[in-house]
């Protein structure tokens, strides 16, 4: 396969460079002989199971391309199921680190699980690489959650929101009805959207927060503000799928354009079920399977051959997380036990990926491109085609950290007040 040869070549070149530079490849002593164990925690059961499985597949695709070996050490991938529950995730993290001897935790998907493991990883000084989803903003921002042993190569919650607001205002849609699931990730995402929208002169006209286990979305779709210019939503875990169906049945699709922030409804595995209902829906995400690049073409082909559907963001995220690990492990000569050095190497990685160019900021958050996509019919199936790109943007885009910090309210505190732009934009 084209992709693995490229990678192997890159890796070989990298190793050669290190040897030439006289880096102590065998310097880590006895440790170099023992395998590197990656504790990979994702939900493989429950509503988020498809995301978890994609994430693992993506990571495996990269690790296979380096034959599960880096700097002379074998790599062992130990996958554990968090069921998407924080308590289960934390128990699995403890088991992986304390019993299996895993040197790092990867994977994740759910923000709640990430928050539960974050404290543990910080206390134990265990490198924690959030590989998939888990976009809670403050994990990678200075503040109470900041963890020097954390990096995130997936995506935070507010950047897709900021891009969505920018795109919608450019389209001339300024009065927006919003829906977000009733949990921390939902508040972060939709708060970030309201913040960006208000700064651009738009306004949230209505906010609705369906609980995560909402069974019937009929009331929410019926209740939508029909005078709004458009709808922006964030309903993960199958909720978006049910909502869109009701929305279409109520005849609202011709009246209200939809922006699916973070693409939780027009999630690639759902597209066959949504069918024509999905056509025309906009979404923002840090990936789209039709991205034109040799690397992505090869990735999509290889992924499709494995699982017979288009990848969503989770597969390339898994791949990128595994490559970030691989590159950093190679850079420290396989000595991942030296956690501070390993994290330093992680923050320094820079490479090209199916998602586009990847780099990390000093807080450990990935800097990558954001794509606005629109669902189209393509042959027998459906695909999210790129209609706009925001290249190489960081977690505070379009603000700086200082500007971001100057606001009085955190996004989560704005639940229920998003329609009030004065409050949303109030300074400290």
């Amino acid at each position: 396969m084209a992709i693995s040869t490229t990678l192997r070549r890159t890796l070989r070149a990298g190793l050669a460079a290190m040897v030439c530079a006289g880096l102590p490849l065998a310097g880590a002593g006895a440790q170099t002989k023992t395998p590197i164990k990656i504790g990979f925690i994702v939900p493989t059961t429950g509503g988020f199971a498809p995301s978890g499985e994609e994430c693992v597949t993506g990571a495996k695709m990269y690790l296979e391309s380096i034959h599960y070996e880096v700097a002379g050490r074998k790599i062992e991938l130990i996958v554990e199921d968090s069921q998407g529950k924080p308590d289960v995730g934390l128990t699995k993290a403890q088991k992986l680190v304390e019993r299996d001897g895993a040197q790092m935790i990867m994977g994740i998907v759910s923000s709640a699980v990430a928050l539960a493991i974050n404290d543990y990883a910080r206390d134990k000084k265990v490198p924690f690489i959030i590989t998939c989803d888990a976009g809670a903003n403050e994990l990678t921002m200075p503040g109470p959650l900041a963890n020097p042993y954390l990096v995130r190569t997936s995506q935070n919650g507010r950047t897709p929101s900021a891009a969505a607001a920018d795109f919608m205002v450019k389209k001339g849609w300024k009065n927006i009805a919003v829906l977000a699931s009733d949990y921390a990730g939902g508040f972060d995402t939709i708060g970030g959207f309201a913040d960006a929208l208000c700064r651009l002169g738009g306004k949230v006209t209505q906010e609705q927060y369906p609980p995560l286990n909402t069974t019937d979305f009929g009331p929410y779709a019926t209740n939508l503000d029909r005078k709004a210019d458009a709808v922006a939503m964030f309903l993960p875990g199958g909720g978006g799928l049910r909502f869109i169906k009701q929305f279409v049945e109520l005849g609202l699709k011709d009246k209200l354009p939809v922006m699916d922030i973070y693409a939780q409804s027009v999630y690639e595995p759902f597209l066959p079920q949504l069918g024509d209902s999905a056509i025309g829906i906009y979404s923002t995400l840090h990936y789209a399977s039709p991205i034109k690049s040799p690397m992505n073409d090869a990735f999509v082909k290889a992924y499709f051959a494995r699982v017979k559907h288009q990848p969503s963001d989770n597969a390339p995220d898994g791949w990128v997380g595994a490559k970030a690990f691989g590159d950093a492990a190679a850079a420290v000569g396989g000595n991942v036990e030296n956690a501070p050095k390993f994290i330093e190497a992680l923050k320094a990685v820079k490479f090209d990926s199916p998602k586009g160019p990847i780099a990390l900021d000093k807080y450990g958050q990935v800097i990558q491109s954001m794509y606005v996509r629109q669902t189209e019919k393509a042959g027998d199936g459906y695909v999210n085609s790129v209609v706009a790109t925001y290249p190489n943007i960081d977690q505070f885009w379009p603000l700086t950290f200082e500007q971001y910090e100057s606001y009085k309210y955190r996004y989560a505190e704005l639940k229920g007040s998003l329609t009030d732009c004065a409050k949303v934009l109030e300074k400290k």
Binding site: T44, T45, G46, G47, A49, P50, E53, D182, E207, Q208, Y209, P210, P211, N213, T214, T215, D216, G218, P219, Y220, T222, N223, G237, G238, L241, R242, K245, Q246, E249, L250, G251, P269, F270, Q273, K415, G416
Partner: protein, 283 residues
Amino acid sequence: MIWVIHTLNGVSLGMLLFLLAAGLSLIYGLMKILNLTHGSYYLLGAYIGSTVIQTTGSWALALVVAPLIVAALGAVMERFFLRRFHLDELPQTLLTFGFLFIIGDVCLWIWGGDPILLPKPALFAKSIDLGGLSYPEYRLALIAAGLAVAAALWWFQERTRIGAMLRAGVDDAETARAMGIDVSLLFTLVFAVGAFLAALGGVLGGPIIGASPGADFDVMLLAFVVVIVGGLGSLRGALVGGLLIGLLDNFGKIFFPEFALFTIFVPMAVILSFRPTGLFGRA
């Protein structure tokens, strides 16, 4: 006009809740079993229904086949497992709890973790015009189906011989047995009917609620709330409770959008504080 639609939304959800709660209520009324597997019957109904629709293309067939298979499962559960612990509530409840996990895992193994929505029957796939607003025909059909099931159950309970035996069994199983009623057969039958109704709810609710790992818990919780509000053991309670919860949930979400998590449980607590046995339950 929008309020008509809101009301229809609430009533259609209420009918679905009735289907789910009716079996639970019947089973408790006769056997005093708190059947925690009830949500799994829903889930199995929806999954099997989707498989039948996918392989045969026939919605009507799914509506018959899925509930029958699940009813058979219910009968087996009662005959070979729950029977051993007759009137012994703790082991029975734990046993049904175990089945909940087993069935959940088997579903995950067979159908995977992706949430699915069932397609709608072609006959009711369109939307109709309601004073300038469109409304899905399927929800109207759902209301009709719920009413039809309610009527059939009422007829079964009030007008048939088995129904009379059932009522006798609910009132006093000992005496019913002494009068020569085969209570044992009745138990199996009621369990099968309960499972049948929940699976029917699974196929009918499939296009709206869908099936996914965890849906069994969510549905079970709703069914329990309905049964508690309506009164354990009462079919009328299941119908009124279902409609009440469906409407309260619907309007609660609209008037108190920030408290959507509580719109079902607050009314339940209020009703329980005034009528501890539920609206139609007997002490």
